[in-house]
Amino acid sequence: MDKKALLIALLLTSGLASAQEADPDGFTQPLKELKFNPGLDQREFERATLDALNVFDPFESWNRRVYHFNYRFDEWVFLPVVRGYTFVTPRVVRSGVSNFFSNLGDVPNLLNSILQLRGQRSMQITARLMFNTTIGLAGLWDPATRMGLPKQNEDFGQTLGHYGVSEGPFLMLPVLGPSNLRDTSGLVVDFVAEDQINFLNVAEASSNHPEITVLRMVDKRYSTNFRYGQLNTPFEYEKLRYVYTQARRLQIAE
């Protein structure tokens, strides 16, 4: 008798539980639990999105032309070259190349992290540079990440932002893509700094052997996942502009 009672109780409770969760077809009605705004207050999507479209872009017409130039350059020059590069070099070589240039990039990362007076981060990047340059054979291999020292990007644009320099107008740079006035100046400073420091003698070698610079650009495109048209919208320019602006703010705040 007890067993029967137990069985009935079980059946009843399981029936109740499933009645709360699912209808007789098994549908659990996921929207039922959501809280909705009352009728007159349902325009948050429109409000937020229209607000997000306000980016300071006085050179928009020029920027858009550059965007279309970059799109074509990517399709007709950059990506075919990257495909050729992927075809002729084995994967281990490609990752060696990426690691090598990434290690070089840790020099401006360190510099900017010091300029921002970030002690712990500077030490971590110094450790990364040491491990990757020595154990990692001049950066061909990236043991530091495996040792728990993740890559941390800091550039001069971020340093400027860190000290409150405003973004300035949005700029679409030929080949390099979205930027703004502050980050473009930062780019120039980082470039000059790297040239002066001449870490591992790469800057000097590059001026005699432009193929190093070309390889670096190919590697940069190879390791960047973005593809023009991938967002598949007539408003890709607007979306890139918004995402770039927000991503930079996030990097500066972090």
């Binding site: 077809d25 959501l34 999507f45 937020a48 992927t86 994967r91 593809r227 408003f235």
Partner: protein
């Protein structure tokens, strides 16, 4: 007496279990994300996904089709990338069956779900062709005859022409059989394409798999439109929804100490103190769909010179700012697109009547008899899918019987890359 009742109860339970043979219970299924919004956004945790080849190990290329040469001159200059239709073909070395994959609402042939399905089928030895959705910007511009998507039979007709053109572009590709699949709206398209194929017979699809299809298209559209009307905590007069989410992301990365974007990011984020609420996630999902609806409204209006969003004959060059048209298009949700563009077009072309007539014509209901009788079609769906309404699963159960597999969790398409789902898809195709 009591015994009799018990026996009857148990009997009916056993009977129920038989009817629901294709239902998986949550424990056996083992999908870890029981929140449908989280599943929709983050999909399967990386270590539970199907084992698939890396992109670099897939022999694949993108190809162009020129299907609507008149658009070359009709469309403004800044549409140059979508004047021909692009698709992706991954080919096996020798003879193999070919799977067509149709993307969901607004989806590109290379969108995330289409890519992950490609990897799955390619890894199992199929040639794979990925196609953009008839509702996507590129398809509307380059392949659609009327560029007013939403009438399922017409969209299927457009798709069918594209598939025939794809086949004609690779005459030497050794294909043994044709298979067809699609997810979300692409699954509804797949059903209509399969139906069309019964008369045109270009492919004779061996099996057709519908992944998370809308049943009643209007229910799905209404659900998606509603997702952006949720009450989101933190939104006030000075803070917009995006600012709330970005603020959370910023604090999350600050606590973490560095920015690392990877597959596991979202799971880690949802474990953190900054986790998003259901309303916030619903808003994010709804936002993605609203972006699609504004793209559709804008593109359809522009191609057909309706003058609702872009004034007819407005000069557009590569330097023209589209932002103000975007602002107008953003205020048009799916319902607005249907009312302002789809229904007038449908009425003019088919002498159509009421909204409910249109809904019946474009939803799975229209294919009820075909779905009932055609054993080569199966549906996989989730009990907690956001695009369904009450009664939809009942329709699928009645129509497909045990050809419906119902998973207890996964939200909208969140479990497509889960191992168990992947195995079931391959199993179905293997027959």
């Amino acid at each position: 007496m009591l015994r009799l009742r018990l026996a009857a109860l148990l009997g009916s339970l056993i009977f129920c279990a038989q009817v629901l043979a294709a239902d998986l219970d949550a424990n056996t299924y083992g999908f870890p994300i029981t929140n449908p919004f989280e599943a929709t956004i983050a999909t399967t945790p990386p270590d539970l996904r199907s084992q698939v080849p890396a992109n670099e190990d897939i022999n694949q290329s993108d190809y162009d089709l020129k299907l609507r040469p008149e658009r070359e001159t009709e469309l403004p200059d800044n549409f140059w990338p979508v004047k021909s239709l692009r698709y992706r073909l991954a080919r096996q070395k020798g003879p193999a069956p070919l799977v067509f994959v149709i993307a969901g609402t607004g989806g590109h042939y290379a969108s995330t779900h289409a890519e992950s399905l490609k990897r799955l089928f390619y890894g199992a030895g199929y040639h794979v062709v990925q196609l953009s959705s008839p509702t996507s910007y590129d398809f509307m511009a380059a392949a659609s005859r009327h560029a007013t998507p939403g009438i399922s039979s017409e969209d299927a007709d457009d798709l069918y022409r594209v598939m025939q053109a794809v086949r004609a572009q690779h005459p030497s590709l050794p294909i043994t059989d044709f298979y067809l699949t699609g997810y979300s709206l692409g699954a509804l398209d797949a059903a209509f394409v399969s139906h069309l194929d019964e008369t045109r017979r270009s492919f004779n699809f061996k099996r057709v798999l519908l992944l998370n299809p809308p049943v009643n298209l209007y229910t799905s559209v209404t659900n998606l439109d509603r997702l952006v009307q949720t009450r989101v905590k933190g939104v006030d007069d000075t803070t917009t929804f995006y600012q709330v989410v970005l603020g959370k992301l910023t604090r999350y990365f600050q606590q973490k100490g560095y920015i690392d974007l990877n597959d596991a990011l979202l799971f880690d984020f949802q474990e953190s103190r900054q986790r998003l609420t259901n309303e916030q996630m619903a808003m994010l999902i709804g936002t993605a769909f609203r972006f699609s609806s504004s793209d559709i409204a804008f593109t359809s209006d522009l191609i057909n010179h309706r003058g609702l969003i872009t004034p007819a004959k407005y000069p557009i060059t590569e330097g023209t700012s589209l932002t103000r048209f975007y602002k107008r298009a953003l205020q048009c949700d799916f319902d607005c697109y249907i009312t302002e563009q789809l229904i007038p077009y449908w009425r003019a072309k088919y002498d159509g009547g009421s909204l409910s007539q249109l809904i019946n014509q474009v939803s799975l209901y229209a294919l009820e008899d075909y779905l009932k009788g055609s054993s080569k079609i199966a549906v996989m769906h989730n009990a907690d899918d956001l695009i369904l309404g009450p009664g939809d699963l009942g329709f699928l159960r009645r129509t497909l019987g045990d050809r419906l597999t119902l998973y207890p969790h996964g939200g909208h398409c969140g479990n497509l890359n889960y191992r168990v789902n992947g195995d079931a898809m391959l199993e179905f195709f293997r027959g």
